[in-house]
C-alpha cells in the first residue's frame, strides 16, 4: 500500500471517529433536553390540574372534554377511580415523570396529590411523535456523517497526493543519478522532511563521489609512478631486441613489456575518461592502419584489399585493430593462426580479426563486454576499450565464435563514401566534361 493511500485512509478513519463522536454527543444532548422539556410540560399541566381541583366550585365534579393524547385519572384514597379521561387502564403511581408504553403508544406519566382528599391525580402525555423526532435526528446525523466522510476523504487523498508529489519527483531524480558520476539531486522545495531527505541523499552521493575521486587520484598517482619506468624499460628492451634478434629470451621480455605498456595505456585511458573526449577526425585509409599493426606483429597474416577510406582518428583506429590482434594472439598457440583482413561490405568498411583458437561459447560471447569479465587468460580491458572506440566512430563491433573452431572479431565502420554528402556534387557536371 502506498504512503498516499495510508495517509488518505488514516484521514478517513479519523474523520469517521470525529463525526461519530460529535453525532453521539449531539444525539444525547438533544434527547436529554427533549426529555427534560417533556417532563417540564407534564409537571406544569399536573400543577394546573391540581390547582383547578383545589377550587371549591369545581371539586370532584371536574369534567374535562375530549382531548387527544392526554390521560387524566383521579383516584380516591381507597383506590376508586373518580374520573378517568382517555385512559384504558389505571396509570401507576410514580415518584417522578416516567416513560411507559400504553396500548402501543409511548406516554410520559406523572402523579400528583388530589387536594382536599388523600387521593391522587394521575396524568399522562402521549409523546410518541416527539420521540419519533429522535429517529429522524439519527437519520439526518448519519446522512450528514456520510457526506462529511466522503468529502473529507477525497480532500485527504488529494492533499496527500499534492504533498507527496515532491517525494515522487525526488525519487525520479534519484533514479536517474548517473552511477559513474553521482551528481547531487536538485530540489527547490522548502527545508521540510523531504528537503532533509534530499540533503541526506546528496550528502551520501557527494561522499561516494569524493571516494571515487580519491580512488581515481590514487590510480593516477600510481600510474604516474609506473609510467616513466615502463616507458624506459619498453624502449630499452626494444632496442636490445633489435640488437639481438635471435635471442628468444630478450624477445619474450620485449614483447611482454610491450603488452604491459599497451594494457596500461588501455587501463589509464579508461580511468582518465579519455575515451569520452572528442575525436580528431581525418580521412583515414584503413589499409595503412592495418599495415601499421601488422608491422608491430609480423607473424600475423594480413589480407589487404583496395584502398578503403573511413573518417576517424588514425591513432584510435590503430588502437582498435591492435587490441583485437592482441586479444586474438592471447587465445592461440601460434601467431600464424591469426589473420587480419580488410574488405568493403556495402556502405561498411570491415576489418576482420580471425583466430583459430579454442573459440567461445555463445554465453561467453554475450558476456564478453561485461565490466570486469575476462576471457580465459586475457583481461577484457582491451575489448572494452575497443568497443567504446568503435562506437565513438559510429561503427559496430561484431563477434562470431564457434567452440573449437575459433573466433572472428569484426569492426564495421561507415565508409567515407557513405558519409560524404552527395548533394555537394549534384549540381556539378562529371569531371570528364569539365573545362580543362
Amino acid at each position: 500500500m502506498t504512503l498516499r493511500t495510508r495517509i488518505g485512509l488514516a484521514a478517513v478513519g479519523l474523520t469517521i471517529a470525529i463525526v461519530a463522536g460529535f453525532g453521539a454527543l449531539a444525539y444525547s444532548v438533544f434527547t436529554q433536553q427533549q426529555g427534560e422539556q417533556l417532563q417540564l410540560i407534564l409537571n406544569e399541566d399536573l400543577q394546573r390540574v391540581t390547582a383547578l381541583l383545589d377550587r371549591p366550585t369545581l371539586g370532584a365534579s371536574f369534567a374535562p372534554g375530549e382531548t387527544d393524547g392526554v390521560i387524566l385519572q383521579l383516584v380516591s384514597p381507597d383506590g376508586q377511580v373518580a374520573v378517568d379521561w382517555g385512559g384504558a387502564e389505571l396509570l401507576p403511581v410514580v415518584d417522578e415523570p416516567t416513560l411507559m408504553e400504553l396500548s402501543g403508544r409511548t406516554y410520559i406519566v406523572a402523579t400528583g396529590v388530589w387536594p382536599s382528599t388523600d387521593g391522587s391525580v394521575r396524568l399522562a402525555h402521549d409523546v410518541t411523535a416527539a420521540l419519533a423526532v429522535r429517529t429522524g435526528l439519527v437519520a439526518s446525523l448519519l446522512g450528514a456523517a456520510v457526506i462529511v466522510v466522503i468529502v473529507a476523504g477525497a480532500a485527504a487523498f488529494l492533499a496527500a497526493r499534492r504533498m507527496l508529489a515532491p517525494l515522487a519527483e525526488v525519487s525520479e531524480r534519484a533514479r536517474s543519478v548517473d552511477p559513474a558520476a553521482p551528481a547531487a539531486v536538485s530540489y527547490a522545495g522548502p527545508a521540510d522532511e523531504i528537503g532533509d531527505l534530499v540533503a541526506a541523499l546528496n550528502t551520501a552521493l557527494s561522499a561516494i563521489q569524493d571516494r571515487k575521486r580519491a580512488e581515481r587520484e590514487f590510480l593516477l598517482e600510481v600510474s604516474h609512478e609506473l609510467a616513466a619506468p615502463l616507458t624506459l624499460v619498453n624502449y630499452h628492451l626494444g632496442a636490445v631486441r633489435d640488437e639481438h634478434p635471435d635471442d628468444s629470451r630478450v624477445r619474450a621480455a620485449a614483447d611482454g613489456t610491450r603488452e604491459l605498456l599497451r594494457t596500461s595505456q588501455d587501463l589509464l585511458q579508461l580511468a582518465r575518461g579519455e575515451l569520452e573526449r572528442e575525436l580528431k577526425q581525418r580521412v583515414v585509409d584503413l589499409r595503412q592502419v592495418v599495415q601499421r599493426v601488422g608491422d608491430e606483429y609480423p607473424e600475423v597474416r594480413l589480407e589487404l584489399g583496395e584502398r578503403l577510406e573511413v573518417v576517424g582518428d588514425p591513432e584510435r583506429l590503430t588502437q582498435v585493430v591492435r587490441n583485437l590482434v592482441r586479444n586474438a594472439i592471447q587465445s592461440v598457440d601460434s601467431r600464424e593462426a591469426v589473420e587480419v583482413s580488410l574488405r568493403q561490405d556495402g556502405d561498411a568498411a570491415v576489418v576482420s580479426v580471425k583466430d583459430e583458437g579454442p573459440g567461445m561459447s555463445q554465453e561467453t560471447v554475450t558476456r564478453i563486454f561485461d565490466h570486469g569479465f575476462s576471457r580465459a587468460g586475457g583481461v577484457g580491458v582491451g575489448l572494452t576499450v575497443c568497443k567504446r572506440l568503435v562506437e565513438q566512430h559510429e561503427g559496430e563491433l561484431r563477434i562470431r565464435s564457434v567452440l573449437g573452431e575459433g573466433s572472428t572479431f569484426e569492426v564495421r565502420l561507415p565508409t567515407l563514401a557513405a558519409r560524404l554528402d552527395q548533394a555537394d556534387h549534384a549540381d556539378e557536371v562529371p569531371p570528364s566534361e569539365a573545362t580543362p
Binding site: 616513466a228 615502463l230 616507458t231 624506459l232 595505456q265 582518465r272 580521412v283 573518417v311 560524404l420 557536371v429
Partner: protein, 221 residues
C-alpha cells in the same frame, strides 16, 4: 636548410636522455629539467617545438605552458597525470598536442613529426589545378585569378593546409571568427559561397561534406 630545434623539458634524467637520443637524430635538441630553465631558454632562443613534461619539480607544467603561450614554438605535452581536465586546460593554454605516459617511443616520434609537418606552413598549396598562394593571398585557377573575400580565402587555406582533416563547423567558426560570434549558419553560407565560386571557375568537389561531422578537402594523389 637549418635543422629544426626542440626544447626538451623533462625532470626524469633517464627519460630525458632517451628522448634526446631519439630526437637528436633529426633535430637540434636542448634538454632542461626545470620550468624556470625552460622559460629562460625559450625566451632567449628560438625553438620550433617544446616537449614539455607536466610534472616538473619547481613549477606546474600547465603554468609553464601558459607563460609560453606567446612563444613561436608549438608545445607537445608529456604527462602521466593526463586526466581530461589537464588535457582541456593544456589545449586551452595553447599546447598543440599531448602524449600520455607510458608511451611507445615510436608513437611519440610520430607525434613530433606530425607537429613539425603541420608547422612547416607552406607558402603555396596546389590541388587539382587550383593554386593558393599564402604570401600574396591570391588564388589561381590555371592562369585566372579567382577573386575571394578574406574569409573565403582563410577557409580555403585552412582546408588545403590540413588536407584530409575533417573540420567541424564549430572548429571553423573558432578559427575564422576569432572576435565576433557569427550567426548560426555563417559557416554554411561561407562554404556554399566559396563552393559556387570554385565551381564557376571549373574546380569541383574540392570541399566535401562529411555528414554529421563537417567539411574536408581530401588529399589527391
Amino acid at each position: 636548410m637549418d635543422r629544426e630545434r626542440i626544447l626538451i623539458v623533462e625532470d626524469d634524467p633517464n627519460l630525458a636522455r632517451v628522448l634526446e637520443a631519439e630526437l637528436v637524430r633529426s633535430y637540434d635538441t636542448v634538454v632542461v629539467s626545470t620550468g624556470k630553465e625552460a622559460l629562460a631558454r625559450a625566451e632567449n632562443e628560438p625553438f620550433d617545438l617544446i616537449v614539455l613534461d607536466l610534472g616538473l619539480p619547481d613549477m606546474d607544467g600547465l603554468d609553464v605552458a601558459a607563460e609560453l603561450k606567446g612563444n613561436r614554438a608549438s608545445i607537445l605535452m608529456l604527462t602521466a597525470r593526463a586526466d581530461v581536465r589537464s588535457r582541456v586546460a593544456g589545449l586551452y593554454i595553447g599546447a598543440a598536442d599531448y602524449v600520455a605516459k607510458p608511451f611507445d617511443m615510436q608513437e611519440l616520434l610520430a607525434r613530433v613529426y606530425a607537429q613539425m609537418r603541420s608547422r612547416g606552413r607552406q607558402d603555396e598549396y596546389s590541388v587539382g589545378g587550383l593554386t593558393l598562394s599564402v604570401l600574396d593571398r591570391t588564388c589561381m585557377v590555371g592562369d585566372e585569378i579567382l577573386d575571394l573575400t578574406a574569409q573565403e580565402f582563410a577557409l580555403l587555406e585552412l582546408l588545403m593546409a590540413n588536407q584530409g582533416r575533417v573540420f567541424s563547423k564549430a572548429t571553423i567558426e573558432d578559427r575564422l571568427y576569432r572576435e565576433a560570434t557569427p550567426s548560426s549558419n555563417a559557416v554554411e553560407v561561407l562554404v556554399s559561397r566559396l563552393r559556387s565560386k570554385l565551381t564557376a571557375a571549373g574546380v569541383r568537389g574540392l570541399i566535401e561534406t562529411v555528414r554529421g561531422l563537417g567539411y574536408v578537402t581530401r588529399e589527391r594523389d
